[in-house]
Symmetry: C2
């Protein structure tokens, strides 16, 4: 049996083991499994282990391998969370959660609700009213229900229905939304209510009417009416000597970086124990949460607020990536595992890809006297995951470079969530964009929480921000008024902070115990944040109460085990969040302590029509960059960019006209 | 003789011609040439010509080909500007400019001053005082003088001196700045003054002392003491069928884009007449100006404020690019020309490169039911120029993609401008960073002005901004408070505007005469701006008065010929700017008019020690994106990303341990 590292993702054997342990603990009780995953290892137990690894010392005992389980009793519907010890095969606890706590949606449940909806007589009755032509059918996307009632404790699904006008595996049903939307109880499978959707600009609804056919706006190549471009020539990345990385299990080495690739059902890709040239840099990096509230004020859309991490999970929605489609060059894939409802492990194949890319120049200087130039390219290592959450896609990449930078790049793509709208008479709404005939894409926001658990030369760090401000005009110290300086503000107590473009505010993470021998300042990394509009929904709205992390761009908390998710553990139908905004209330000291930095950034996405029927990616980038961590540019030792190494090709010049047009050009 | 297009850059023949015309106009007067370049063609004369081209109609008469000349009379030193007609070989005007107007620095002048400085007895006397060891010499960078005296009218150069400890063509003299700095008159060649530089944290200066040797911090590979990395494997971009672009003279076609590559001595790369799928998009895009004020308050550093476009020119400082060094893949180069002091044309070879690059995914959607995915990669066309302005490098790239986006990417790299500083006893300053022994890199800003002359479906456009704001809570229209909408503000009169991250402010350029048939809004492009800290120097300081464009991020002016440069025509030693801030005072109507949008963005650069001795690039990106310009994603017709086309390689998996470690893995 493979020896597992504390940061290794769950194995199929562990899933099977957990099921055995739980079945023994609940004899005769039918269980419906929702999730089994590795429980985040206890940090204080892991640190001695990874420090011994880093320093090449004898390894201490491994921390306990704990597994976490979420499941329902099929007999009572009760929802449980259990913690298991994988080595002792013991249940540490198995607790029934309060009735109002809803676990995330799982894959089997999604399919189950979808099928239930399609077959329900009330739904079929509505479909009949549409009088669809021969061959035209319907489908539905079960949506997490959102929240508008503090007393609601049922597990609910809002099914948004669409017309399928073309029988094709990539038909874009989002182009043709229906005007009714059944709500189901996910446990009892009862129809709770038939919601009707507004047809015009206001909230007014009508009974389901016969469908007035309009064209589907399609994205799939097979279904386009226009011809494809024929003038795009191949562009092939070759790495004849293979990749510059090496992999041992989930441990990756590339240039001076070392880290471990983690994978959880909830977050998907997680990076652990990131070191550069043998020095600690980050303990754990992850996309902790994301919420997507919609700006369409009309019922039932006011409940459209997905938490794609907490309600669903980027791990279970991660795409199986394909060679030559999702990345170029020399690709290494990593798999993950999830459990199905029956308790069987399901392989999530190729859900993470790793490859190198060239990103232009990293540094260059030409001595203008001699013309002699030093040119170094910016080779990068990309760890990528692509998640499909129903209609939408997110492409997440952690990008390492040779100058000790780590970039988190998010690309938003996929299909807009649409609603029906009678727009053929020139009608518009102030909270959305017409994107096709009788279809509207409402405004919405994507609010991400990037969780940064730093280890800048050690596990006790301090977060501060630095503003650039004019120096006061002063005859002695600033006689011409042009001087400027920086002001530092230490976040010495857990709390939040704002970004400030006008003051060029930069957030830094430093280790007060290590002073840079040249700058005489503590060693540090800076967060090159993505200043963004915060949540538009006002304080007091459910949207805001459920996602307080998205009301401030920066949060600092003192590290505690089990505080991994910015909006709390259970976000599905949550009434309020139980995350960073709660943890900062402890007012923990955070100066030179084991701290966590949370960065909320986002995209206020008022759709362009060009974002339909599939959206050209919108890119957001956040970077972690050394700032006084080294004593000079750490990429100086990267070899020069040369033609011998890079083998570029000169574009052939046309033969001069005087030589006749027939003669082909020579290089 | 080649038939020139109105947007073609100057040819060597035209330079020779201009010299002949000027010498005939100034018989017997010795002239010293500074610059001869094409005069920007008169827009109203060009439009009928390029519209006929675009629409395939018979071409009207070409606009007059005008050349512009800047030169000194060697006898009097007087500075002239002349306008010539290249076809009639006539001088339209030749005017002597006021004494206080200083033209830009030219290449010959720079070398002249450098040599003058090195040989001057007063400089040699200071060098002697340093008592440099055998083999250690000095060099200098002549700096534009900046401004601190409204009455100064001499042409001045401030020479910053450095110790050259290592005789190598890439020695980093910026690591060892001297403590004296002579000022020369550029016309009379007289030593105006010997400035002494502070040695400590305050402005106090001392007489030149014997040098206390410290190590040079080197960047060149030859001079590094540490070994180079040996684990970076080749990464080769192959385009076996060649590039997807085609070139005819300076006209480029790529995918659905058509444009003309311009080149001026001042701006370097300029793009003209950009159309997409036969529709007008932009008339002219250029980097109009850049200023770099320093935040070190001490004399003489208060005068350090370079205008790299106006004072020097990105055209004349553009690097000769090399195959396989500056870009990968299949490369096309463009040349430029400048004049030398004697009137001879000088070729600026390979100053612009054009190539394609792969930038990951452009769009993807997976139908989670069928698993069927549409994946399209983001192929880009890059137009790149790299400029060396003494110590510093800028990499400018206009990047076109298949979804009708244009990105302006700026990468800042090169070597920090340094000053001497006794820092071996733990001393620091609040306006700079110690970057090596006895060397300090002061804080500074890089403020860019991106000039956007739009032609969104025509030459009359309107700029407006759009903020995302909560809708008021209202029982009927927004009962749950989650609704949000946008507010539009039209810039109907020439003026400036602020960015606003908290309101997600977006600037758009629309054509009120063309309404999108689906959105019912005017066709538009949006500017994805780079919200930045504006100029830190206070109003009233010379720094601010000379660069008012850098006090506001957005300016809109009504188009006028000759209004190309945000800080005005002559920036060198300017007392006040004569640019956008003047032009907006006309209060021209700018709604549905021929307008220009100017975007100031920047980098407050408080150096990291990692930015020395050569800086890992810092990237800033600004994008122009269609927003209601099309009726759907314009990249839908880009063929799918497939392994057949892309030919990626799977990373070999290690053989399972049970089979023996010797056996090599199979794919």
């Amino acid at each position: 049996m493979t020896v597992l590292h504390p940061f290794d993702p769950i194995t199929p054997g562990e899933i099977t083991l957990a099921v055995q342990v739980l079945e023994a603990a609940f004899p005769g009780v039918p269980l419906r499994y929702k999730r089994i995953d590795v429980n985040e290892p206890i940090k204080k137990d892991v640190i001695p282990y990874i420090e011994a690894e880093r320093l090449g010392k004898p390894l201490p005992a491994k921390p306990a391998r704990l597994l976490q389980a979420l499941f329902h009793r099929r007999d009572t519907g009760a929802f449980y969370k259990a913690l298991l010890n994988a080595e002792t095969r013991k249940v540490i606890y198995a607790k029934e959660l309060p009735k109002a706590v809803q676990g995330p949606v799982d894959v089997d449940e999604m399919i189950e609700i979808e099928q239930l909806c399609l077959k329900h007589p009330a739904v079929l009755a509505e479909v009949a009213k549409m009088q669809l032509p021969e061959g035209v059918t319907v489908c539905n996307d079960p949506w997490i229900y959102g929240t508008d009632d503090p007393k609601e404790s049922r597990r609910l699904f809002q099914c948004y229905m669409y017309i399928v006008a073309v029988d094709h595996e990539q038909n874009n049903h989002y182009s043709l939304p229906c005007r009714f939307s059944p709500v189901f109880d996910g446990i009892t499978h009862e129809l709770v209510r038939m919601d009707y959707l507004p047809g015009g600009a206001d909230a007014q609804t009508t009974e389901t009417q016969p469908w007035k056919p309009v064209e589907t706006v399609q994205y799939a190549h097979d279904l386009l009416t226009e011809p494809l471009r024929t003038d795009l020539k191949p562009y092939i990345v070759q790495q004849p000597e293979g990749a510059s990385f090496s992999v041992n299990g989930n441990a990756v080495s590339w240039q001076k970086w070392r880290f471990r690739v983690g994978f959880t059902n909830r977050e998907g890709l997680v990076l652990y124990n990131i070191t550069y040239d043998g020095r600690n840099v980050f303990y754990r990096l992850s996309m902790s949460e994301m919420t997507v509230p919609y700006g369409d004020p009309r019922a039932p859309y006011h409940r459209k607020q997905a938490f794609d991490v907490g309600d669903v999970g980027f791990g279970i929605t991660a795409n199986q990536l394909s060679l030559g489609c999702d990345c170029l060059g020399h690709i290494k894939y990593f798999d993950g595992y999830r459990i199905d409802a029956q308790g069987k492990p399901v392989q999530l194949k190729n859900v993470i890809c790793m490859h190198e890319q060239d990103n232009g120049l990293q540094h260059k200087h030409t001595n203008y006297r001699s013309g002699a130039a030093t040119v170094v390219r910016n080779r990068q290592l990309v760890m990528q995951m692509i998640c499909t959450v129903a209609n939408y896609e997110y492409i997440f990449a952690f990008i390492f470079d040779q100058a000790a930078n780590i970039e988190l790049e998010v690309r938003a793509t996929g299909i807009l969530s649409t609603v029906p709208f009678d727009n053929q008479n020139g009608q518009t709404v102030p909270f959305g964009t017409n994107v096709g005939p009788n279809v509207l894409a409402p405004f919405h926001q994507h609010m991400f929480s990037f969780r940064i658990d730093p280890a800048i030369d050690g596990f006790k760090n301090t977060v501060y921000f630095e503003d650039s401000v004019p120096m006061p005009v002063d005859e002695a110290s600033n006689p011409y008024g042009v001087g400027y300086t920086t002001e530092q503000t230490v976040l010495s107590t857990a709390g939040s902070a704002a970004t400030d473009v006008a003051r060029h505010r930069i957030f830094k993470i430093r280790n007060d115990d290590y002073i840079n021998p040249v700058t005489y300042k503590p060693v540090a990394y800076k967060l090159q944040a993505a200043p963004s509009q915060m949540l538009l929904a006002p304080a007091g709205s459910f949207t805001s109460k459920r996602a307080e992390f998205a009301t401030q761009p920066i949060w600092v908390t003192r590290y505690q085990d089990d505080e991994l998710f910015a909006a709390g553990e259970f976000t599905n139908q949550s009434k309020i969040s139980e995350g960073v905004e709660k943890w900062v209330q402890r007012k923990d000291a955070t100066e030179n302590e084991d701290i966590v930095l949370w960065h909320t950034f986002g995209l206020t996405h008022n759709p362009r029509i060009e974002d339909f029927p599939v959206m050209p990616m919108e890119r957001i980038s956040v970077m972690l960059r050394p700032d006084g961590f080294f004593t000079k540019n750490p990429a100086l030792d990267v070899p020069a960019s040369t033609q011998t190494f890079n083998k570029s090709t000169l574009h052939p010049e046309p033969a001069p006209a005087c030589c006749g047009g027939e003669k082909s050009a020579k290089l």
